[in-house]
Symmetry: C3
C-alpha cells in the first residue's frame, strides 16, 4: 500500500496532493478501476475541489471556520473538537475513477489534503480497487 508523507505548516490548510496521487497511479501500473485516497487521522480530511484559483481554497477554510467556530462549548480537553467535526463533514477519503492508467478528475478538479489541527506530520494511504465491469 502506497503512503504519501505530508507536512502541514499552519493550523488550517489545504495541501494539494494531486500530483503525488497521479505519480502513485503511474508507478503502480494500475489501469482500470478506482483510486482510494485515505487519511488515517481524526483532525484532518481529504476533498476534491477547484484546482485553478487559490482563493477558492481560502474561501473553503473561511467558510468552514464560520460553520464550526473553535470556541463552541466543546468538552474535549484538547481544544480541537472543531477539527474533529470538520474531519467528519469533509470526510477522510476520496475515491476517483481510473481509466487506462489515468485519474478521471474533471477539468477543474484537484485533490486536497485538509489539515484542521496542524502544523503536523501527516500521511495519506493510496489503494487501487479493481474494475468489475468490462473496463471500457
Amino acid at each position: 500500500m502506497k503512503c504519501i508523507e505530508i507536512k502541514s505548516s499552519q493550523r488550517e490548510q489545504w495541501i494539494p496532493i494531486t500530483s503525488q496521487v497521479e505519480d502513485a497511479v503511474r508507478e503502480s501500473g494500475f489501469l482500470d478501476g478506482a483510486c482510494l485516497v485515505y487519511v488515517p487521522h481524526t483532525t484532518a480530511g481529504v476533498t476534491i475541489n477547484e484546482n485553478a484559483d487559490p482563493d477558492v481554497a481560502d474561501d473553503l477554510l473561511m467558510g468552514l471556520a464560520r460553520l464550526i467556530p473553535r470556541n463552541l462549548p466543546f468538552r474535549h480537553s484538547e481544544g480541537n473538537s472543531d477539527a474533529h467535526l470538520k474531519s467528519s463533514l469533509v470526510g477522510c477519503s476520496v475515491l476517483v475513477p481510473v481509466r487506462k492508467g489515468r485519474l478521471q478528475l474533471g477539468t477543474w478538479q484537484g485533490i486536497y489534503f485538509g489539515e484542521f489541527d496542524g502544523p503536523r506530520r501527516r500521511q495519506c494511504y493510496i489503494r487501487f480497487l479493481r474494475e468489475g465491469g468490462n473496463g471500457a
Copy 2:
C-alpha cells in the same frame, strides 16, 4: 466508463438519477461489488437521501443555504464559493453496494445529483468495482 448527461434548470437543485444508475448496472451485466457514481465538477455533488416526499429535497437545499450563505465575505471572483463549499461537504461521489446485479439501496434511498451553481450541463461517471469476498 459509463457517463450520464445531466441538464440542470436552476441554480440549486437536486436531480434524481437513481433510474439512470440502475439502467447502467443492468446494461453492464455487472453482478457483485459496488457502483461508484462520480461527479467531475467542483460546484456540484451527489448524495443519497429520501426518495418519497419531495419536501425533503427542498428542505435539504434550504438547510444548506442557511448553513452556507452566498454572501459570506468570499474572495473568489466568480461569486460561487458557496457552491464550492457545498460540493466539498456533500461530496462528489457515492458508492453503493451491488448484489446479484441490483443496487442495494435502502427502501427509502434514492441517488441525487446536487446542482449548486446552475443552470448548466453536467456529467456523472459510473464505474463498477469488483467484489473481493465470497460474493454472497
Copy 3:
C-alpha cells in the same frame, strides 16, 4: 453480503461499530483491498473519528445540532429534516483500506454509526472490494 444489526437508544447517538466490522473482515477471509460500510437509511449515517475520548463523540453531536437546528422552517411533515440533512453531510458510507486481512484504520480512528432520528432498529451492510494493484 454481511449485515450488522444496530439498535439505537436515543434520538441522536454515535454507536461504535469498529469491532463488528473487524469481525466481518476476519470471518470473510478477505485479505487485500477495501471494506465498504454502507448505511441503507436516510436519517442516519456513518463516520470515522476519535476512538479514545468519548467527549469527542458528544462534541460532534452538539456541533451538528448547532449547525442544523431541528426547528429550521422545514416543510417535511415528519419533522425530521434535520436528520436527513445530517445524513447527507456526514454521508452514508465509509471505505477503509484492508491489507493482509486487517483494516488500515489510523491509531486514533474508530468507525461510528450515526443515529440522527432514533431510537430505532438499524442496519449496516459490509462489502469487500478487491485490490487492483500489486496488493503490497
